[in-house]
Structures are given as structure tokens and as C-alpha cells.
């Protein structure tokens, strides 16, 4: 029975043909002030979106977001890109997310994915995991891990997507 089921499942995938791009799945997570937020509403008037998964306990994630913040004004002026930083901190540290993010001067749209529902829907296994989305929410590229200087390559892609290059 199980085998038939799996076969049916797998054959379905084959007929579907793997697609590189997918629109943002609908998951209900929270904003910093405790309201529900539907992730399919992540949008930027047709301009590029950077979606970055991070957590308070993840040092490279914070380094990546710090690096984004250093260039954010300039990037926004040039391409109109918008950054969403999704914290996957659970209830042990959700209360510390807003003070840390604001205290670091981050000016991103910050969302709380306390039980990992959005993380699972986006197939994020390890963080930092950063997606570049086009204006329709399709994944254009994605990257896991952060090394010093990786923000420049990402920004090249943002520019290309915004038609600035």
C-alpha cells in the first residue's frame, strides 16, 4: 500500500516537471507587534525582494543582516529592493527579537516565525538562508550560509533583476 502511494506521489512529481521558481507559500506568522501576517502578502510593488531567515543565536545571520544594513539606503535608492528578515527564534527568544533588531539599527520588515512554519514551507534547513524574489514572489536565486562580502554578489543579482544592469 505504502509503496503504491509513494509511486503515485513520485509519478505525480515527474509529470509536473520541476520548476525553479515558485511563488511565496501562504503561511500565517506574526509581526513584531503580535498581529497575524499572511506570508503571501510579502510584496514590493513589483520590485525585487530579499527574504532572509535568521535567528538571535545565529552569528553569521546577524553578520549578513548587518552587512545588508550598511548598504540598504543605497540599494533602495538604486533598485527599490525591500528586505524582509524572518526570525525563526522560538518562544524562548521571540521577546528579544524586536529589541535586538531595533538596537542594531536594522530597518528591515521583521517577521516572527516562532514555530518554523514558514521555514518549513520554504524548505529552509539551515540558516542563514536568503532568497532573492522577483516582484511576483518567484524565487530567482537562493543561498545558504554567509561569508564576508557575499552581499556584493547578491546585490549584482538584485540590480540585474531590477533592470539596472
Amino acid at each position: 500500500m505504502k509503496k503504491i502511494l509513494i509511486l503515485a506521489f513520485v509519478s505525480m512529481f515527474i509529470s509536473v516537471a520541476f520548476s525553479q521558481e515558485s511563488a511565496i507559500p501562504k503561511v500565517i506568522i506574526k509581526t513584531l507587534d503580535g498581529k497575524n501576517f499572511n506570508t503571501s502578502e510579502i510584496a514590493n510593488d513589483g520590485k525585487p525582494i530579499i527574504l532572509s531567515f535568521w535567528a538571535i543565536w545565529c552569528k553569521p545571520c546577524q553578520k549578513e543582516l548587518d552587512a545588508f544594513m550598511e548598504h540598504y539606503e543605497e540599494w533602495q535608492a538604486e533598485t527599490g529592493v525591500k528586505i524582509y528578515a524572518v526570525s525563526i527564534d522560538d518562544s524562548r527568544s521571540t521577546a528579544r527579537v524586536a529589541p535586538l533588531a531595533k538596537g542594531k539599527g536594522w530597518d528591515f520588515d521583521i517577521l516572527l516565525d516562532a514555530n518554523g512554519d514558514f521555514k518549513r514551507a520554504m524548505n529552509v534547513n539551515m540558516i542563514p538562508h536568503t532568497f532573492l524574489l522577483d516582484g511576483k514572489g518567484n524565487v530567482v536565486s537562493q543561498h545558504t550560509s554567509y561569508f564576508e562580502g557575499a552581499e556584493f554578489e547578491l546585490y549584482e543579482k538584485v540590480k540585474k533583476l531590477a533592470g539596472k544592469k
Binding site: 500500500m1 505504502k2 503504491i4 502511494l5 509513494i6 503515485a8 506521489f9 505525480m12 512529481f13 509529470s15 509536473v16 515558485s22 507559500p25 501562504k26 500565517i28 513584531l32 507587534d33 503580535g34 498581529k35 497575524n36 535567528a55 538571535i56 543565536w57 552569528k59 553578520k63 527564534d89 522560538d90 518562544s91 524562548r92 527568544s93 521577546a95 528579544r96 524586536a98 529589541p99 535586538l100 533588531a101 531595533k102 538596537g103 542594531k104 539599527g105 530597518d107 516562532a114 514555530n115 518554523g116 512554519d117 524548505n123 529552509v124 534547513n125 538562508h129 536565486s141 537562493q142 543561498h143 545558504t144 550560509s145 561569508f147 564576508e148 562580502g149 557575499a150 556584493f152 554578489e153
Partner: protein, 555 residues
């Protein structure tokens, strides 16, 4: 079996759509990960051929797939742990599909059948989640319905059994969990509050566990109810959150079969605006362990989640002594300040300086005997009484740490961290009789950018203590070529171990390659015994020596 039928029905129902619809409307995404370790004997750290016992290779393999067609979704996770890598519970050895689900969602209703993860409020009475890379998964197997009858109102209902390694649910082999949750955002519901600057969200939940009483001695409650209420108020830069949970008597292996009721409280008050953030958190837990099998006491079948409130440290030595919530009773507080000294000031310099101060302390609760003839916590009694506001002077954990983030130039930046720790190792790790660890730690982390893409990062850490394994030093050098390559050398040296024969080096050499969301990393060397914590879950990792390969990809 029933679950499989559901699936088949769903799949067959697609027959009504033509192939073109499939191609146009379907999406598939997923991820794969393999963690493999090849172990070798290493007499210096006590690993011999007989302790490896022929299991030279441990492999954990995972695959996640999610299929979406409009409002319909189905997904699965395959796991193969044959044999699991070191540090995993031996009961995790096995292979199969522990996570298999289908869901339909519209604006009004969202139904999931099969396995699911869910959290009510902060999880004080219900949370199922996974950290499968660490071997934790308490997923529900059953059904979930979420209703959104009006804007700002959300109702959830869940029921099912929980995952217990690879053991299938059978009648009475473990409990059944049922629950309801309601949440309302008053600004969206109450007329006249739409434009109020004060945002108020209220929520309430109830969870009940059923498990048959087959105890020959005690008359145990077969239905254990728990209730929680929560409130979140946001006003400008301030945010107040509080949740209180109550559970009826639930004698179990965790609490030595006492008939006392349980409760938990978690509150936080924060202030944050650009450049500054402050938060104070308070917590009290009293007899609040809640599992869907009263005979289980390990890290499995948890119905609720009692969050530890202390900083989760990110460096190897600062994370060496992590705190874990004591579900039978604790009272704690945490304070954190984040401040960015602006650019162009004396201390801020050209780039600004980030400062973080964090303090947390957790004590035992005060317990009083119920009468003269009953010992505190005596099995089969009411256990004890405890005054809500009284704290015991027994400290489980205390952590005071300071961190400074500073950019010195376009090329050089650094992080400096000091930490003072008090850690009751006897209580937290169960090392009965061991003295409380008092330690000082220091971390210096420099990143130097050679070119726009190439950088060198160095990490120096020291841990000084007279207890446990004594003093440690750690050094790490990493060379990165963004965004693809890394190479690292690291050594942890237990130079102050009171036993001279155990003053070991734990060295590793590692390299990795990342392309888009695919990553391959290889590590060769020795892993020190300790606790590895990621995302709120910690597990004890034995000392090991050998080669580790991690391969992950996402599409």
C-alpha cells in the same frame, strides 16, 4: 493506513484536472540533507575499536518534498538513520516517512490531515515542532482545522497522537492529545479600535490528554486538562506580552507521581526604537512537565514547551554550559539591552558601535511540605505547596555577558564578548554531586577583508574555571571566498584539566563549498564531548573522532 487512504483519495481527485492544468498550476519544492560521519579509534580521548563496536559509519539522510496545486498542498519527509550519527538516541535508528500530510486552505478554513506542527501562544500547554537535524520531533499525527470566521479572529482545533521515534501508535500504547485555541486582535474586531495606537491581541487555549490508567497502585487521572490565557499589548515602542497556564494534577514519571496541579507564567516587557532596545522577561514554572505518556521522562512526547529564558550563545566555549528548563520548578528573569552608539560620536567612531548587555538568572522555586508526615515531593501525595512569589536561594543558572561589535575600518571589524557564568551542573546535566561551575569567558572575533570577496576571520576564546574540566582555550582561523568557499582550522585545548592525562587538543580541519542553496562541507578531527544546541534544542554529543560530511540542497 487511514492516512494513506486520505492521500490516495486526494491524488485520485486530481484525475478531474487535465495535464495542462497540472503543469501550469503545480509547484514542487523540497530539500535534501545527508550528514555522514566516519569514526576512527582515538585512544587519547578514549575511543577504541570496542567502543565503536563495528559501527564505523553513521548516516542521517533526510528528504522533504512539498507539492502545491492552488489551495491544495501535500508534503512528506523521508528519514533514514542507519545507523544514526553519534549523539542521537539509539531509538532513532530506522527509516521511513515520519512526516506525511495533505492540506487544503482557503481564506475561511485551513484543514490538515496527517502529521503537523502547531503552537498555541508561547507553547506553554501545546507545541509540536521539529529540529530534525538534532533528532527532535514530537509531531502530531491526526487532524488540524483552522478557521478564520472574521478578520482578526483565528480558531484552531487539533487532535491526534504524537511521534515517538519509530513506534507506531496503537490503542493505549500512549496518550491522545486534543486541543482548542482562539486568538483575537481587538483592533480588527472591536468597532472604534481600528485606529487606536494601542494594539491588543488576546488568546486562550485548552489542551487535554487522554491516557488509560493501568496503574496497579494509584488511581490516576485519565483525562488531564490544561488551560492558558495570553495577552499582547503594543503601544508605540513598548510591547507587553504575558501568558499564564494551568494544568490539573498529572502524576507522571517526570514529577515522581505527585498529585499537585501545575502552572507556568511567562511575561515580557520591551521597549525598542531605532538604535536602542531593552527587554525584561520573567518566568515561573511549577510542576509543568506535560507528556502524552506519563511513564516517559526523557526528551520525547512533550505536549508543551517551557522556553528557557537566557541567551543562547553562538561560540563553542560560550555555548559549552547551556541551560535547560527545569519543568518541575524554576523562577527566572532575563534582561537585555541593545544599543548602537551612533556614527560620528567619540565612542561610535566612523561606523557606529554596537553594544549588548544581557543578564539572566534562574532559581529553584520555594517548596513547603503539605504536612508533617509527608516529605516534599513524596510519591502519591500532593507533593508540596509553593508560594507564587517566593524564590528559593538555590541558583540553577546565572549568566552576565557584554558584547561589543565594532568596525575599525573598511576592512577590519571585530566582536568582543565577556561572560560570567554560574552553572549548577548537578541539576542541569544530572551530574549528581559535582560542584557548581563558576566560569569567566572571553571571546575575540576579528574579520579582515582582503578583497571584496576574500576574508580571513579569527576567533580566540578562553574559558576559565576551577570546576568541571577546568580551563579551556580555543582558536579558529577561517578563510572565505564569498559566496562559495570556506576553509577553516580550529583547535580547542583543555589545558587546565585537573587530570593531566586529559589535557587534550580537539582539533578540526574543515572546508566547504556552497552554490546557491546547495552546500557540501567536510570536517576532519576530534569533537569534544558536550552539548550542541541549535534553535532551542540541545543534545549531548559524545566525544568523537573522524570525518564528517554534510551535504544539503534545496530546490
Amino acid at each position: 493506513m487511514k492516512k494513506n487512504l486520505f492521500f490516495l483519495i486526494f491524488i485520485l481527485s486530481f484525475g478531474t484536472l487535465n495535464a495542462q492544468d497540472f503543469i501550469n498550476n503545480s509547484t514542487v519544492n523540497g530539500s535534501f540533507q545527508v550528514d555522514a560521519q566516519f569514526y576512527r579509534p582515538d585512544a587519547v580521548i578514549g575511543i577504541t575499536d570496542s567502543s565503536i563496536a563495528g559501527r564505523k559509519l553513521g548516516i542521517n539522510g533526510y528528504g522533504n518534498i512539498i507539492y502545491t496545486l492552488g489551495n491544495f498542498k501535500a508534503g512528506m519527509r523521508y528519514e533514514a538513520m542507519l545507523t544514526p550519527i553519534a549523539g542521537f538516541d539509539p531509538r532513532q535508528e530506522g527509516n521511513g516517512f515520519p512526516y506525511l500530510w495533505a492540506s487544503y486552505s482557503s481564506d475561511f478554513v485551513d484543514v490538515t490531515v496527517g502529521n503537523f506542527y502547531e503552537q498555541f501562544g508561547n507553547g506553554l500547554i501545546f507545541r509540536t515542532y521539529e529540529e530534525w537535524t538534532l533528532g527532535y520531533d514530537n509531531s502530531m499525527n491526526g487532524m488540524r482545522v483552522v478557521l478564520n470566521p472574521a478578520k482578526g479572529i483565528s480558531l484552531k482545533g487539533i487532535y491526534g497522537s504524537q511521534r515517538y521515534y519509530w513506534q507506531k501508535f496503537e490503542r493505549n500504547n500512549r496518550g491522545i492529545v486534543r486541543g482548542l485555541d482562539a486568538e483575537m486582535n481587538l483592533n480588527e474586531v472591536v468597532k472604534g479600535m481600528e485606529s487606536s495606537p494601542v494594539l491588543i491581541t488576546v488568546g486562550a487555549s485548552a489542551v487535554s490528554k487522554y491516557q488509560r490508567d493501568a496503574d496497579p497502585v494509584y488511581n490516576l487521572p485519565e483525562n488531564v486538562g490544561s488551560f492558558a490565557g495570553r495577552l499582547n499589548i503594543g503601544a508605540g515602542n513598548f510591547n507587553l506580552m504575558t501568558e499564564y497556564a494551568h494544568k490539573i494534577n498529572d502524576p507522571a514519571a517526570m514529577n515522581n507521581f505527585i498529585y499537585k496541579e501545575g502552572h507556568a507564567m511567562l511575561s515580557s516587557l520591551s521597549y525598542s526604537r531605532s538604535g536602542i532596545g531593552v527587554v525584561l522577561q520573567l518566568k515561573r514554572v511549577d510542576n509543568m512537565g506535560f507528556k502524552s505518556d506519563r511513564s516517559v521522562s526523557g526528551n520525547a512526547l512533550d505536549i508543551n514547551f517551557l522556553p528557557p529564558i537566557n541567551r543562547t550563545h553562538a561560540y563553542s566555549l560560550t555555548g559549552k554550559y547551556p541551560y535547560a528548563t527545569q519543568p518541575n520548578g524554576e523562577m527566572g528573569l532575563q534582561f537585555q539591552l541593545n544599543y548602537k552608539i551612533p556614527k560620528g560620536t567619540l565612542l561610535g567612531g566612523k561606523y557606529g558601535t554596537g553594544i549588548a548587555v544581557n543578564f539572566s538568572q534562574v532559581n529553584d522555586i520555594m517548596r513547603t511540605a503539605v504536612n508533617d508526615t509527608t516529605k516534599i515531593g513524596q510519591e502519591g501525595t500532593l507533593g508540596y505547596t509553593s508560594d507564587f512569589f517566593k524564590v528559593s536561594d538555590h541558583i540553577f543558572f546565572r549568566d552576565l555577558n557584554f558584547e561589543v561589535d565594532k568596525r575599525f575600518s573598511n576592512k577590519l571589524k571585530g566582536t568582543f564578548q565577556y561572560m560570567n557564568l554560574l552553572y549548577d551542573i548537578a541539576t542541569i546535566e544530572g551530574h549528581a554531586g559535582d560542584p557548581v561551575v563558576e566560569a569567566n569567558l572571553f571571546v575575540v572575533d576579528f574579520t579582515y577583508r582582503l578583497t571584496t570577496r576574500k576574508a580571513i576571520r579569527t576567533e580566540l576564546q578562553g574559558l576559565w574555571t576551577k570546576q568541571d574540566e577546568g580551563d579551556w582555550a580555543a582558536v579558529m582561523v577561517e578563510y572565505t571566498i564569498a559566496p562559495k568557499w570556506f576553509f577553516a582550522l580550529a583547535d580547542q585545548y583543555n589545558y587546565g584539566n585537573p587530570d593531566k592525562d586529559h589535557r587534550n587538543h580537539y582539533y578540526t580541519v574543515s572546508a566547504g563549498f556552497t552554490r546557491e542553496a546547495s552546500r557540501v562541507a567536510l570536517t576532519f578531527g576530534r569533537q569534544a564531548e558536550g552539548v550542541v544546541c541549535v534553535g532551542g534544542v540541545c543534545r549531548q554529543v559524545p566525544a568523537s573522532s573522524g570525518l564528517t560530511l554534510t551535504l544539503t540542497t534545496n530546490f
